[in-house]
Symmetry: C2
Subunit: 234 residues, 2 copies
């Protein structure tokens, strides 16, 4: 045990995901200052002296998206602290994963430079070790769709089974059978509850609307086939 610790700065970085136009998109900001000036990076910033970690993550999320309400989902992802990960010095970054519905288009930088939704397939080099953090975040999201009703965090409060299926397909990167998916979602207790309304205006038969159900875990889980590791277009 070391008696006295060295001094570090602590940051939070956010992996903010949404589903737009049938693909997984990530919220990125373009850095306006060195290091990595001009490079795309995950939104984030330093933790304030008396600020709790989840509060810091929520604050950064609100600053970057203009969203404050309890919509979506926010959870701690992992912590990254390689000594050389930040050229400014020893910075330990606690990464958070946020899942949001598409609607709240990021208010282009209330603070930082331009913030944009970037489809995951078109992301190039990122600043710092953010590529790794992003990869970990996407994998976490993919895994959690299996055994939690978290996919609903990508949807507005009311949604259709088809919209929920689009979330799964976008995040997992593979098509699902609409009929089996419908059976699974409506048959798993507590996953979704019907609101009574219907969703007119679409092309085909109007779909019933649902809200997120009370279940915290899906039983049994909805397993993705890992036999054929999804063609992951990075």
């Amino acid at each position: 045990m070391t008696q006295n610790g060295a001094e570090f700065r602590v940051a939070v970085d956010l992996v903010v995901l949404t589903v737009r136009d049938g693909t997984l998109a990530v919220l990125l900001v373009r850095r306006g200052i060195p290091p990595y000036r001009g490079r795309w990076a995950l939104p984030g910033g330093f933790v304030l002296p008396d600020e709790d970690l989840p509060a810091a993550a929520a604050r950064e999320l609100a600053e970057e998206t203009g969203l404050a309400g309890p919509a979506g989902h926010l959870e701690q992802l992992a912590t990254y602290g390689r000594p050389a990960r930040d050229p400014r010095g020893r910075v330990v970054s606690v990464a958070y994963l946020a899942l949001l519905p598409d609607l709240p288009v990021p208010v282009a930088g209330s603070d930082a430079a331009a913030a944009r939704w970037v489809p995951r397939a078109r992301i190039g080099a990122l600043a710092f070790d953010h590529a790794r953090i992003l990869a970990d975040g996407v994998e976490r999201a993919r895994a959690k769709l299996e055994y939690t009703p978290l996919a609903t965090a990508f949807c507005p409060p009311e949604f259709t089974v088809g919209a929920l299926r689009e979330v799964y397909e976008s995040v997992w990167g593979r098509p699902l059978d609409a009929r089996n998916f419908h059976r699974k979602v409506t048959g798993t207790p507590g996953f979704v509850v019907p609101t009574g309304g219907a969703d007119a205006g679409g092309r085909g038969r109007p779909a019933r609307r649902y809200r997120r159900g009370p279940a915290a875990l899906l039983h049994p889980p909805m397993l993705r086939d890992r036999g054929d590791p999804a063609a992951d277009t990075v």
Copy 2:
């Protein structure tokens, strides 16, 4: 985004688990200095100025157990940073989860005060927020037994199906059917591979010996019933 971060100290704390005598046990140390002097705590310490986080965790684990080799399992758990969690000041702790076979009895403090395996059911109040960290670690271990071959990390290199079942029963806190467990373990591709040897000396029929197989994930997972939330004797 905040321009300059405040200064923090960064620690690693370890949730070290093993299975002894059919129960889950946790490695604890008795604090020799304030704060919480005399209280039991998770082993841990400050990260060195140029040390990577996994390296710090591995170092503390080696210091506390005398174990250096690649036996067992070590993974990052979560990070705890409540402003008031340490009376000495702002300390952010990155917790790691370690799973070890029973054999390496902790060398009673090469550095800290007494280190001991404590059965989980007999743990009282812990220092800092270590009770919460421990609870998170146990839940992580429980969950990972479902979909990974991680239970083998609690076993020596060669083990029997019965020993592996004891691990599951100890960690989950509920009995499993020996016949169905045997079918599942030997039938899941890559979970375990037979070594050819047998385990004489026990009471009943000698059991075949196995090694950990190449699989990283179990397909399909071995789900614990969550219907009846394990009588968790805390």
